[in-house]
Amino acid sequence: MQHTLLVTGSPYQSKACHSALCFARAALKAQPDSIKGVFFYEDAVLIGNDLAQPPRDEINLKQAWQTLASEFNLPLYLCIAAAVRRGVINESESKRYELNHHSLSHGFQLEGLGTLVELMNSTQKIIQFR
């Protein structure tokens, strides 16, 4: 069975990103293709902000997701509208808005909600973490 994970809770105001990470780790360890993709929406898109630096004695959640994604070739999607609104911007959006900076961390990609619909329709189960 293949799953889609939908993460909507803020990495700072909830444990949604933490719980989703633990679930994804366990699922992928048990079956490496059990998760087709992770879609971050609402405040969860803040996970992809490259400029955020957690204190050194705390978990680096962004890095933990990047490591997992790299190990299992797991796509990490951020909703483009939710991300741009919150200042998580890739190079092409930065040019489009005529900005001097971009802030999207590597391993994450900006996609529309249509990508979530495609994931929903091509996996057996979707699990929301909020």
Binding site: T8, E42, A81, L113, L116
Partner: protein, 115 residues
């Protein structure tokens, strides 16, 4: 195609959750997915007519309700105990369910998302 229920529980004025839940409903409908809405708790305030929020208070999401039928979103459910006594001040497109039907609602969809 899966049928999806979007359950709005957050106030339209305290966070973006309600707006982003509605955005997801509209995108699902645009992709011709079967989607219904249900409202409870603070999200019920979206139903009140004649809202005039300032930009600081947030967008007037009530205005979106009349457009739902153009996306073929036909069902907006609430629990009947949530109905306010003066129905003239509440949006008329809702379907109210008794407690038993409301409880069953959530198990009649393949996917339920909460915002």
């Amino acid at each position: 195609m899966k049928n999806t229920l979007i359950h709005l529980t957050s106030s339209p004025y305290s966070s973006l959750a309600c707006k982003e839940g509605l955005d997801l409903a509209l995108v699902l409908a645009t992709f011709e997915q079967k989607v219904d809405l249900c409202l409870s708790d603070a999200a019920l305030s979206i139903l009140t007519i004649s809202q005039q929020p300032t930009p600081e208070q947030g967008k007037n999401l009530h205005k979106l309700l009349d457009g739902l039928e153009f996306y073929d979103i036909e069902n907006v459910f609430i629990e009947s105990s949530s109905l306010i006594p003066d129905s003239a001040t509440q949006w008329s497109g809702i379907t109210s369910l008794d407690s038993a039907a409301w409880s069953e609602l959530f198990s009649s969809y393949q996917q339920v998302f909460r915002f």
